[in-house]
Structures are given as structure tokens and as C-alpha cells.
């Protein structure tokens, strides 16, 4: 079997037994990138030479039988919103085209210490604003399961790369569903950690009270391995939690017997594609068959989660994106007046969705509208949190579909921003409450992957991973591969 299609948990023992070298493994991904990425466009930038140099260094250390760090010689694809020192980081935007950050994000520093090799930077919706990767200034990524469809977003490049075997795993970021929704649409595993579990230092900010970096992988075990490398307190991010990091791999065993699972009634209502409902119901039945106790819970504030999220996130974005003014990095439109330089630079550098969200956020924060919109949204956010608190008095995990539909067609929702926003209806409440959530493959509808979402208590990633792993061991959805080699753009 092509090593590029194996999970990292199976690659590591092969490297240690020296049945495979880091250079051979890297070559397998580079070959597949050459073959498929012209069509899929999962990557914005592949650093082949730097990766080969690093791989050769790990070849020698494996050959010497050195004591090696946990992920030695394993490549990783990184969403282009995460700063990589000296390696172009655009955030999917013209305004940062060609920018080489002078520092690494903490997540990158940790990965390098763990021995991982940066394979390339993946495509995304500009500034992570979108649910289809069509808002990238550098063109859309295509879904490996059907190249006429979107991979989801905003971490669509990372999801497509992992699904297509163009990387063993990837980093994504999730502000309103941007890890879990593309994972669902591409048939892979995506984990959004609890807010504060992974450092945001060097993650280009969108909605700072919501953003988290997390793993996008082929298996739940790989998600545990990658989270282990990322998680922990960071003096450079004052919102990281100073809490011990559990052993996530150890948490995988144990099964779900006696675990209390709550199916959210609102997750199974109208607007859900019938094939998605069937797959999620079947997944719940599988978990019940494994000994979990199922009951229904209710999250009534979900009806208000979408406006709440878009007001909070865009308000934060309008402030965060004020720094792109043509002074310190990226694009500048040269005009003699400084204020005009700011606004002409921003008009030329930002795409329509980014401008739309900056406008929304600026409006929500402006005099006369602050109380009616922004403050109201912050209060409604408390209702969303209370819903989960009430549910977690009775159950250990909440079950929801990850996305109400399977992957939609390219172009289908571009003209209607509200329709696009609805793609994240089941993931957004989890960010508002700051909780950990995972999407795992749970079947197919119309030949396209469906994801099951499991949501846990704050910092209870171990229970989330344990239930997801038990489900994965009982099913084989995660072993399905996209029909890539026959895929053609018509």
C-alpha cells in the first residue's frame, strides 16, 4: 500500500523499524501532490526543497538509532493562517501576498520540537472567513470526492490534502466550524480543542474569543497524537489555560459503556438533508449498541446562535483587521495622502467577504448600534453557553450533525452570504461556548461523506476522543478513499 495513505500511528512504527525512511515517505506525498494538486489546489505553497533537507536529517538520525522526538520525520500540511518563519504566509489574501513572517507560531515551534516536517501551506477562505474555500484570493480548492464540489471551509485546503493523501495530516483553525465542517465534507477527522487548550500566538487573528488551532487527520488516534504535540500553556498567549495536559492516546481505549450521550433535538430538525439525518441516527445507534446510554437534550438558543456568532466574530474581526494598512507588511497602494493610502490599500487588498464582515462588525460596534447589536449578541452568547451547561448536567457528550448538508457545488452559494453562513449552524454554538468538538466520518449521502459531531465539556478532550475512537473502531467509514485517480475537471 502507498505509505501516503496510512495514518501517522502506522507510519511511526514503520519509521522506527526502518522499513521506511522519512525521505521515502516525503517523496510519496510529493509524488501525489504533483499528480493531483493541479486539479485539487489544496496547497498555496509547497516547500519541497526545505522538506527534503529536513527529511534527510531525520533519515540519518533514524539510521543511527538515536533517541528521537515523538513525530520525528512526519510531514505536516499547515493552514496558511499560521505564521511560519521565513515561509510565505498569505492567509488566503492579496493583502499579505508574499509576506514572510519573522517568527513561527507557537504551534509551529511545538511541531518542530516534536520532529515534524513542514510540507506546505494550505489554501483557505481569506482570513478564514467562509465555509467553502471559494473566498481564497488564489482560487478555490476542490473536494477530492467530487471535484465539482467545495471541500468546505475555511480550512478546505487542509481537509482536501488529508483526504487525498497529499499529506498525512494537517493543521486547521476553527472560529465557527472551520476545522469540523471541511473535515465532514471531505470524510476525515477534525478536532476543535477547547478554547485556551492550544496557543493562538502566531495564528493570524479573526475572532480572538473564538479562534482555535486543531488537528485534521485520517483517524481519531492521529488527532490524539497531534493534539498531544500542540496542547499546553504558552506564556505568549495569555488566554491559554495553565492546566495539565492529559495523555490523549491513553484516553482512546475504554469504550463508551455507561457513557451518557445526548442527541440535540435541534440538530435533527428541519433543514437537515435526509441522508445526513439517516447517517447521524445510525451512528447514534452504533454508539448505543456499544453500551452508551442515549437520551435527547435540547439547545433552544441555537436559533439565535447564527446572528450571535456573526455579530461577535465580525466585531472582533473589524478590530483585528485594522492592522492591515500598508505600513508594516504586505500590500501598499502608494498615494500621497496617508488616510487615502490606508483605505485604497484595504480596498485593493481585501476580497468581498472580508470587506462584508469588516463592514458588519464596524456597524455593530458603531455609536447608536452597539447596544442593539454587539452587546445584545454578547448576552445571547451567554444563553448558548447555558444550554450546554444544562445539557452537561445530564450527559457526558452532546451529539449533532457536523453540517446540515453534504458538500455543495462550487458557485452554488457564492451570491447569497446568508445561505453560506447556514453551513455552520451546528458548529457555531460550540465555538460560542468555547467547548471541544470533533467531527468523525459516519457515512455517505448521495455518494458524499457525512460527519458526526461529538461535543464535550471544557477541557474534556479525553472523553470526546474516547467516544470518537470507539465509534471509529466499530465502523469503517474512515477507511473509504475518494475516487481520486479517475477524477477529472470537466
Amino acid at each position: 500500500m502507498d505509505p501516503a495513505l496510512l495514518p501517522v500511528s502506522e507510519l511511526l512504527p514503520r519509521l522506527r523499524r526502518r522499513e521506511l525512511s522519512p525521505s521515502e515517505l516525503l517523496a510519496a506525498y510529493l509524488t501525489r501532490i504533483t499528480a493531483h494538486d493541479g486539479t485539487l489546489r489544496a496547497y498555496l505553497h509547497v516547500d519541497a526543497e526545505a522538506a527534503r533537507t529536513e527529511a534527510r536529517r531525520w533519515d540519518e538520525r533514524y539510521a543511527r538509532g538515536d533517541d528521537l522526538p515523538p513525530l520525528a520525520g512526519i510531514p505536516i500540511a499547515v493552514k496558511d493562517i499560521i505564521c511560519t518563519r521565513g515561509v510565505v504566509t498569505t492567509c488566503g489574501s492579496r493583502i499579505l501576498e508574499g509576506w514572510r513572517p519573522p517568527y513561527d507560531a507557537t504551534a509551529m515551534v511545538r511541531l518542530r520540537h516534536a520532529g515534524a516536517i513542514l510540507l506546505g501551506k494550505t489554501n483557505m477562505d481569506e482570513f478564514a472567513m467562509g465555509s467553502s474555500t471559494e473566498n481564497s484570493a488564489f482560487g478555490p480548492t476542490r473536494n477530492p470526492w467530487d471535484v465539482e464540489r467545495v471541500p468546505g471551509g475555511s480550512s478546505g485546503g487542509s481537509a482536501a490534502a488529508v483526504a487525498a493523501g497529499l499529506a498525512p495530516w494537517a493543521l486547521g483553525t476553527d472560529t465557527g466550524g472551520s476545522i469540523r465542517q471541511p473535515a465532514s465534507l471531505c470524510g476525515i477527522v477534525g478536532l476543535k480543542p477547547t478554547y485556551g487548550r492550544v496557543s493562538r500566538y502566531g495564528l493570524i487573528a479573526y475572532g480572538s474569543s473564538l479562534d482555535q488551532i486543531g488537528p485534521m487527520t485520517r483517524t481519531v488516534e492521529d488527532a490524539a497524537l497531534l493534539l498531544q504535540a500542540l496542547a499546553g500553556w504558552d506564556p505568549l498567549d495569555s488566554t491559554t489555560a495553565d492546566l495539565p495536559v492529559p495523555d490523549y492516546t491513553e484516553a482512546l481505549s475504554g469504550g463508551v459503556r455507561g457513557l451518557r450521550l445526548g442527541i440535540a433535538r435541534e440538530g435533527m430538525g428541519e433543514g437537515l438533508q435526509p441522508g445526513v439525518r439517516a447517517a447521524v441516527q445510525q451512528a447514534a445507534a452504533v454508539l448505543e449498541g456499544l453500551g452508551a446510554h442515549l437520551e435527547e437534550v435540547t439547545l433552544p438558543a441555537i436559533d439565535y446562535a447564527l446572528p450571535t456568532y456573526y455579530l461577535v466574530a465580525t466585531a472582533e474581526a473589524s478590530s483585528n483587521l485594522a492592522r492591515y494598512d500598508g505600513v508594516r507588511h504586505g500590500l501598499r497602494v502608494e498615494v500621497p495622502d496617508i488616510v487615502e493610502m490606508f483605505s485604497r490599500t484595504r480596498d485593493a487588498g481585501f476580497g468581498p467577504e472580508v470587506k462584508r464582515r469588516i463592514m458588519l462588525g464596524t456597524y455593530a460596534l458603531s455609536a447608536g448600534f452597539y447596544e442593539a447589536f454587539y452587546l445584545k449578541a454578547q448576552r445571547a452568547r451567554t444563553l448558548v453557553r447555558r444550554d450546554f451547561e444544562r445539557a452537561f448536567e445530564r450527559v457526558d457528550l452532546v451529539l449533532l450533525p457536523t453540517s446540515p448538508t453534504v458538500a455543495f457545488r462550487l458557485g452554488e452559494r457564492v451570491a447569497d452570504p446568508l445561505q453560506m453562513y447556514l453551513a455552520d449552524i451546528f458548529t457555531i454554538p460550540v465555538n460560542l461556548a468555547g467547548l471541544p468538538g470533533i467531527s468523525v466520518p459516519c457515512g455517505f449521502a448521495d455518494g458524499l461523506p457525512v460527519g458526526l459531531q461529538l461535543v464535550g465539556r471544557a477541557f474534556d478532550e479525553p472523553t470526546v476522543l474516547r467516544a470518537a475512537s470507539a465509534y471509529e473502531r466499530a465502523t469503517d467509514w474512515h477507511r473509504r478513499r475518494p475516487p481520486l485517480d479517475g477524477a477529472r475537471v470537466s
Binding site: P102, Y195, L306, R332, R344, L360, A380
Partner: protein, 97 residues
């Protein structure tokens, strides 16, 4: 609270965006639709509900007052559109006397 082209222009000015006429028309319609949908928040009586600005129990975080290495000035300036004498260079902000 109506969104009209004048309001869109005002918000664009606050956000330092110089919109084209086409963008102004598009945003007027789209922001109106989005805010109409968001008006469902006004159904809620939230007067007794505390706002959430942060999900974790936040406390002030301070580090020891010790000097640490900073980013390299030359490396940072290398990424700037214009620089001079170790500074970011911008168009004049003051009229010459």
C-alpha cells in the same frame, strides 16, 4: 436603523475602506438582508442576562519584568512596503511648516 447607501459610506469611512460604486450598491443590499435576519435577536429579553466577552474564567496574566530578546529589526523591516533609517516609512502626516 435602515441600511442605505449613505450609512454604508459612513461605515466604510470608519473601517477605512474606499468602496467602488458597485460595491456600495452590493453591500447596501447584502447588509440589509443580513441585518434583517439578525433582527431575530431583538425577540429576546436579555436585560437580566450577563454578557459573555470571554468563555474562560479570565484573570490578569503578568510575566516577570525581565528583558527578553525581541524580533530582529532588520528582519521585520524587510517585510515592510517601505522603510528608511530603521523605521517604517509612510506618506507625510504633517504639513511642512
Amino acid at each position: 436603523m435602515a441600511i442605505d447607501p449613505a450609512r454604508v459610506d459612513h461605515v466604510a469611512r470608519l473601517a477605512r475602506l474606499s468602496l467602488t460604486g458597485e460595491e456600495r450598491a452590493m453591500f447596501t443590499e447584502q447588509l440589509r438582508n443580513i441585518l434583517d435576519y439578525f433582527a431575530r435577536l431583538q425577540e429576546l429579553d436579555l436585560t437580566a442576562v450577563e454578557p459573555t466577552s470571554h468563555v474562560l474564567a479570565a484573570a490578569n496574566v503578568q510575566r516577570g519584568d525581565a528583558a527578553r530578546p525581541s524580533l530582529d529589526r532588520a528582519e521585520v523591516l524587510a517585510a515592510a512596503p517601505a522603510q528608511e533609517d530603521g523605521f517604517f516609512k509612510v506618506p507625510p502626516v504633517l504639513e511642512p511648516a
